[in-house]
Amino acid sequence: MKLTFAHMGHLYIPIGALFRHLGLEVVLPPPSSKRTLSLGCQNSPEFACLPLKVNVGNYIEAIERGADTIVMAGGIGPCRFGFYGEVEREILQGLGYEFTMFIIDPPQGKIGPLLKQLGSLVGPVKPRDVIYALRLCWEKVTGIDRLNRLAVKVRPREVTRGETTRTMTDILAEVDRAETIDATRAAVNRGLSRLAGIPQRQDGPPPPRVGLVGEIYVVLEPFVNLEVETRLGELGCEVERSIYLSDWIRRHVIGDIFRILRPDPLLSLARPYLGHFVGGHGLDTVAHTVEYARRGFDGVIQVMPFTCMPEIVAESILPRVSKELGIPVMTLVFDEHSSDVGVITRLEAFTDLIMQRRVRLGEIGECAVTSV
């Protein structure tokens, strides 16, 4: 069995490690590229959302490399994601590929069916090995998140443009290669000090802070969001992402297994503007925008795939949040035709705007607000 799964940002590092340590052979799809995208678009329904199309491209390229088993998450609605697996299976079967697909459903408070599903995928393994594999995976997830959180602080201050990004690529490769928990920790710590050691400018005002919100796949996948995080950083902004994998796993996977029922802090933040979960990350987008406004951020950027239902709800509401809380908000919608040039132009305009706003706020006080 040669197992594969679709790309989503750096997810391949922890998930790859998890499966390898469970004794499975993993065949990763090559990094997403123009070819991936065009394979995906050719073979997916025209109006499917972008993540599905890139998934399909990833699977095809992984199968070309010899993968024969696909692992994919399932879902129970309300958004399309819950049906991705079924449609993807149909598409690949229609293309004549031979493969097995495992669609892993969310546990919804019952761990039994999940373990059974995983058991049939993994086969007999010692509980000790399972625990080690899970710990290693978690170590990588949290390590990568720590590195990222530092990188976004260093990038706007770096003296040599691009150095942070180059260093990160290096560090992540090292984290990926680490085969044990200790080696992972060491790689992460080395990485943190390497990032801290990057020459940074010390003078001048602190960089403006920009929150990045939106649909999880687009937020986490630089190939699809056309490197929005890096570009903003290199335009001099300190970016805070609303979604880090470790937070997400804590809330959704662990929370879902144990049915941790506590009032959702996001819901209470969003409540004046959006009073209900709307699938995907729509509620998170509104809640985090409110949070960033309260924390005095200079702006918020929402990223989403074209036709993304939950984010369209959020997009409809953000102008109100922007106006009432006085924080500039810009929405970027991505599809297979999105171009670097378009995104760069809009990001430059946005950073100009928030820089000007800063100057103005500094001059004429708190009550002057702008919205986009």
Binding site: C79, G94, H276, P319
Partner: protein
């Protein structure tokens, strides 16, 4: 606006937008509000002005049905005291309508000056009915303090809904089913004995038994798209004028639809999606129609998934032609008419061959 304080002789006008699930629930909603002493007004039929207004108010990315809805709500701002914009999460267990329906009242409030004017109960039957009942009580309490009155109004509205659904399955289009179901509003429906159910049953034989000499076309699509003649460029009446029998997915009984939808390996968690897919599978498998027409909204998330599953099934089962037409506010009428006519010609040729 506290009407309660003035007693019952001051009527409150409740506006109901003629859009989205109006086509499935209007008789129920109208009955509920009328029973509580409100005047009910419905926005006029969709026209260019309404749609243009909706396009201006909604974000570009929204699908046309949502833009149409925005237009209808805006048109009621002047004519109604309150506007009914429910948060429609779910109307059955384990299933939803669409993420956009879950945020509707908030989207409306962000787009137009509707604060404090909306009646926006959260309708969520996906888990338990308890909370749903407290939402009904909360909504009713806008009009009266009497819980008994609210309960009665709700019970009546349920009877009317049953009557309306039977009328749909009996082959009526929603607008006529709406007026028939509301006819005799003054208590007549309390005695509703299910007579339309019998008509429906009789009619089912005709619908389920399959084509005769007339060309019959199975129509798949969201009610707010296929029955809104402006939004759908009158495709249904064009078909009928050309002598076709039109069978929409809403004319099939629930059991048929559910049974067919179970052919999927996974529970399809969208109520409307299941109806469309179940109806499509029924048409394809029973060959009870000469062709299927899927009318979809550009950018609709459900349609992109459900449409793909239907198309693959149509290819597999082979002999019922399926055409899909995607509509948005920029779609040109001429192109749609040409495609519909070509489709009908093709069905005619096949039939006479």
């Amino acid at each position: 606006m506290d009407m309660q304080a003035h007693g019952v002789d001051l009527y409150m006008t409740v506006g109901i937008p003629r859009a989205l699930l109006y086509y499935y629930y209007y008789p129920m909603w109208a009955t509920f509000f009328k029973e509580l002493g409100a005047d009910v007004v419905v926005s006029r039929e969709t026209n260019k002005g309404l749609l243009d207004q909706g396009v201006r108010l909604a974000v570009d990315e929204a699908c046309m049905p949502v833009k149409v809805f925005f237009g209808h709500v805006a048109s009621l701002l002047d004519s109604a005291d309150r506007i009914f914009v429910p948060r429609l999460v779910s109307v059955e267990r384990r299933a939803f309508i669409c993420p956009k329906f879950m945020g509707l009242p908030d989207m409306i409030r962000a787009a137009m000056p509707a604060d404090g004017r909306l009646i926006d109960p959260c309708i969520d039957l996906s888990k338990n009915e308890r909370e749903f009942h407290s939402e009904i009580m909360r909504t009713g309490s806008i009009f009266t303090r009497s819980r008994v009155a609210i309960h009665k109004a709700y019970q009546k509205s349920k009877v009317v809904l049953r009557r309306f659904k039977d009328l749909l399955v009996a082959g009526n289009m929603p607008e006529s089913a709406i007026s028939l179901s509301l006819a005799g509003h003054d208590g007549a429906y309390e005695g509703y004995t299910g007579e339309f159910g019998e008509v429906a049953a009789a009619n089912q034989d005709a619908i389920l038994s399959g084509p005769d000499d007339t060309i019959s076309v199975g129509i798949l699509g969201h009610p707010y798209l296929i029955y809104d003649s402006y939004a759908s460029m009158s495709i249904l009446s064009r078909l009928r004028d050309a002598g076709c029998r039109v069978i929409t997915c809403d004319m099939l009984p629930d059991e048929v639809v559910e049974k067919e939808a179970q052919n999927l390996p996974r529970w399809l968690f969208w109520t409307l999606g299941r109806r469309i897919l179940g109806a499509a599978f029924h048409f394809l498998h029973s060959r009870s129609v000469d062709g299927c027409l899927h009318i979809t909204a550009f950018g609709c998330g459900l349609d992109s998934i459900v449409g793909e599953l239907i198309e693959r099934e149509a290819k597999r089962s082979g002999d019922i032609p399926l055409m899909s037409i995607t509509l948005d506010e920029h779609t040109g009428e001429a192109g749609v008419v040409t495609r519909v006519e070509a489709f009908m010609d093709m069905l005619r040729r096949r039939k006479s061959a």
